[in-house]
């Protein structure tokens, strides 16, 4: 997974072509840490079709807020520079993320 932050978010996410997944996480968010291995496993599985990124919000608070993220965990999906879908809080589970990927790829 690509680590994105305020310096490269524009280039890696907003300028990217195709489907991009951004995992908004933080070191104090237990739920984020719990699903991280699942997201990494999905990155292995779908990495050729979806660009997987992760964003540590603790050093990138303004960037997160600019993306309308004000709480964790959030898994957001972008296409052609626009946020097209997202999962937040309890909805962030391996099953839901995979289902979302499949429906957005369809």
């Amino acid at each position: 997974m690509i680590e994105v932050h305020k310096e490269n978010f524009e280039a890696e996410v907003l300028q990217a072509e195709g489907l991009v997944l951004v995992d908004f996480w933080g070191p104090k968010c237990e739920k984020c840490l719990a699903v991280m291995p699942d997201v990494e496993a999905l990155a292995e599985k779908y990495g050729d079709k979806v660009k997987f990124c992760k964003l540590d919000t603790s050093g990138n608070r303004r960037l997160a807020i600019s993306q309308k993220v004000l709480g964790l965990p959030v898994i957001a999906f972008y296409r052609n520079g626009e946020k097209i879908d997202e999962l937040a809080k309890d909805d962030v589970t391996k099953e839901n993320i995979e289902a979302k990927i499949l429906s957005l790829l369809a």
Partner: protein, 409 residues
Amino acid sequence: MSDKIYDIIIVGGGPGGLAAAIYGARSRLATLLIEKGRPGGQAATTEDMENYPGFARGTTGPGLMEAFTEHAKSFGAEIVRDEVVKVDLEGKVVTTKSGNTYRSKTIILAPGAVPRTLNIPGEFALRGKGVSYCATCDADFFEDLDIVVLGNGDAAVEEANYLTKFANSVTIIVIHDEGILDAAPMLQERAFNNPKIKWVWNSTLAEIKGDGLVESVVIKNIKTNELTEMETNGVFIYVGTVPQTDFLKDSGLEMDSRGYIITNEQMETNIDGVYAVGDARVKYLRQVITAAADGAIAAVAAEKYIAEEEGFRKSVLEEERPVAVAFWSPMVQKALEMMPSIENTVGAYGDKVKLVKMDTYRNQRVAKRYGVTKNPTIVFFHKGEVIATLVEDAINEGSIRQVLDKLSK
């Protein structure tokens, strides 16, 4: 299904489940803990943890839970990350979301609780956008912003205090009359002296508004029914918790109307060999220390249960010879008087018949299973089957001989 049969399977890795794992593994029992997230439970979602004995201020919830987890692992407890979705409590089998099945001799249920939601307009859609149930997770987003906290119990007031380290202002919305809080006095005092905390009394929330991010809340005064809109950047909701016991609904487990599991002081549920600990059970105080205490009790009770069941199986059910099990209690006069004659009568058969004395108080479960309600009662077994039962006055030399003569031929 793997062939392995665990001694204890623990469902849930909060402080209750982890303490049970520590006690179980330390007693050299094959102990498996299944946790759907990261071990730690609710206790890992609060930064200020200042009332766990021996760990003074400065201890954090995640830090303490990390220590619990390491402690359990150090004694050999196995921890698996998966969610238990189905249970066969009588048969002691659990099935997980990923499709695995695990078998055990005993089960300790420690699924804890989750924050109660309000179900008001805007709450669901604005989660992750300013609506939160976890200060530790989200506090740093709100640096220099204004937020509201709904609730007035320990968690609400403690987390509000914590949030003032980040936010510009924290407005606590309290349903009671001015000055009345459910939180502990020490937490109240701290909040009342905190210059960043403001109060709205006699009120609750009616709606959370915002386009993409939280922009305002609609506060409802419950005395006047008046609605006022207040601008804010975030809403933290602490209005109690609900037990995570939905997966146990049709398991035969006794629960109260709100879904809390009913246990006795030994943490035993209505099903033999199944225990419940922590926030998910009916209890007076839901804290880390009481969850941990429950876990210790359940693990010890489970250990005794295994020993008792195995003892009974080996000494009675798997015995080749006929066995006379005399249920008695030294507290019951009649039983006390009759025991010597029972021992003599059975003893006369020498090696051909085995006598097992069982104190009904210490072996309540076995006594109940064989319908023993009176003292003394003799239950005769042969090759694991009950052959005959004699109760109280029906017990005498003649009646015992009648059964044993037939059996020992």
